[in-house]
């Protein structure tokens, strides 16, 4: 993975704060584990919230024709790859 540990920590905090996961700390989230259903147990509403948060924080907007949206949201690793590639300052 090309992203930094800082980015992965930042994304975990973003997820925890955005979704109000009150019992989860960044250490509890495995970079490679699935975020939805099995892993953290996030659901379809969380996906929408997370999409909005990514846009606000990093200016990232997905392209429905080019992107497999579900794949980008699969894990912290996948999200970090997306953010380091598309981050708009």
């Amino acid at each position: 993975m090309t992203h930094t540990p800082n980015l992965s920590l930042e994304l975990k905090r973003l997820i925890i704060d955005t979704l109000e996961l009150e019992d989860i700390t960044p250490e509890d989230i495995d970079d490679a584990a699935p975020l939805f259903v099995d892993g953290l147990g996030l659901d379809s509403i969380d996906a929408l919230e997370l999409g909005l948060a990514l846009q606000k924080r990093y200016g990232i907007r997905l392209d429905a024709e080019q992107d497999d949206i579900q794949r980008h949201f699969a894990s912290i690793d996948a999200l970090a790859a997306l953010v380091s590639e598309r981050h708009v300052d």
């Binding site: 925890i16 996961l21 009150e22 019992d23 929408l48 999409g51 907007r61 429905a64 949206i69």
Partner: protein, 562 residues
Amino acid sequence: MFVRLSDLPWRRIAPSPAELAAEHWVGHAELLRRSAAWRAWLDGRPGGRWLLHQPDPLEFTAALLALWESGRIAVLPGDSSEATLGRLHGALDGALPRTPPAGVTATAAPAMALSPSSIAVEIHTSGSTSAPEWLPKRFDQLDAELQTLAAWLGDQRWAVISQVSHQHLFGLTFGILLPLCLGAPFSGGTSRYPEVLAMRLGQLTDTSLAALVVSSPSQLSRLPSWSDWPRGGRRRLISAGAPLTTEAARSAAQLLDAEMVDLYGSSETGVIASRRPLEDPIWRPFEGVEWRLEGAHLLLRSPFLSDPTGWWEQPDEVRSQPGGFQLLKRRDRILKVAGKRVSLDALDACLRGDQRVLDARCVPVGNADGRLGAIIVLGEAHLPHRRCERRALISQLRQRLLGQGIEAVAIPRYWRFVERLPLNLQGKLDQGSIARLFADLDDHHRPRWLGCDAQAAQRCTITLEVPERLAQLRGHFEECPIVPGVALVDWAASLGEECFGPLGRFTALEQLKFQRPLRPGMRFRLELSQRADGLQFHIDSRLGRHCSGRLAFTSPEEQRNG
């Protein structure tokens, strides 16, 4: 042009306009081809009731038509969890595979005639009692509703983009069946993300088709405020499933440049009424839906109901208004979380089934998205004292709910483990107590409040927990966070005022001792006693004493005199 389901519209109406790309829109030619493949797969298998859970709209519809044309009934679960499928196993004649049959070059077998009085689908619904129920819908019921909706939509040619699941009645009716009966193209693949919605709207801009966007308050309240949402063409945006705030309605209508319509209905009744939330707050019943009031209770008689002649009691209270009604509240403990109907009684009962749980109350906590909180009463031996114990317990209770087929969005997000329910003097769990239990969600400087024992007028013991996201933990040791001493003193002072009223002006901090660090997720007791010389406090946990001290104040009287 409208053709009833029982007249097989998919075999009679011309395919969708050539201007729409076949890979993004479901047209009738592709539908018939896929349906023939499902027919071939079903050939030689038992008839009867078949489970259909298929997220892809094209494959879902193709499979649905294959079931109907071969005289079978489609049973639509709301989810595909193992618990749900396990519960159904044995009660059905078969389950269609998630992976569609591939490479079958079948020509469409002739369809069996569909009898209007036969059952078309059975829909899973969270029943008004705790048990989930299966709700059968006949073709004539569905056709009556679809015909009304077709007239309501008018003569315009439509393309339908649905953001909601077709496994539930609203998404099925508007996203799949209505386009079938109108010969309207509908979006293939999921459209629940705003990026996809924008793309599909863009594809319609240069066509003669008007866009019918089928959505929900969960989606509409989370639309990104892009400046370049595709514009142009007529659009109608419909929302159902939960109350839509005026703010969300206004911003969605503006962003999508659409006329906004809010729908009221239920799985049992189909559509009941509609309104234009930006123009008129009154619900206006659909053509053919009769209604009357018994007190504040809404009674309905409608051709969309299973019994079109009897009066159906809708579990909502309403107030009559010229031309329609105003919705007041639901009469049972059923509410909507992200548009999904959730029975709080069912959640409570399921949680109480855990042998450690003495009582359980799931409650809305008043946040915008409707996520639930759970208040769980445990015996002393089972109360979690540390973060890892709390997490393990939550995980087990979540698994328990999922295992009983509760939908993921309905699972409580916030958990409070208490020794007894904080009831008011009338023995009720009132809004004040609930707000206090979940107050730390909005104020990240507060500890989590879990109960209070007032032993005497001047003594009080409060049970608390250190929230993981406590603001004071920030920067207080990245590797090993502990609650700073100043936060503990603040809590003693502020909770002291909550217990005993205004304490006066703070003058001194005496005999302060920190003996043990307090960490995130720890459960602790704050013991407060009000004495002539100030407020004495002790903070203890299962590990022993953490902190003690005395806060001295100028009494309010002295303050006034001085």
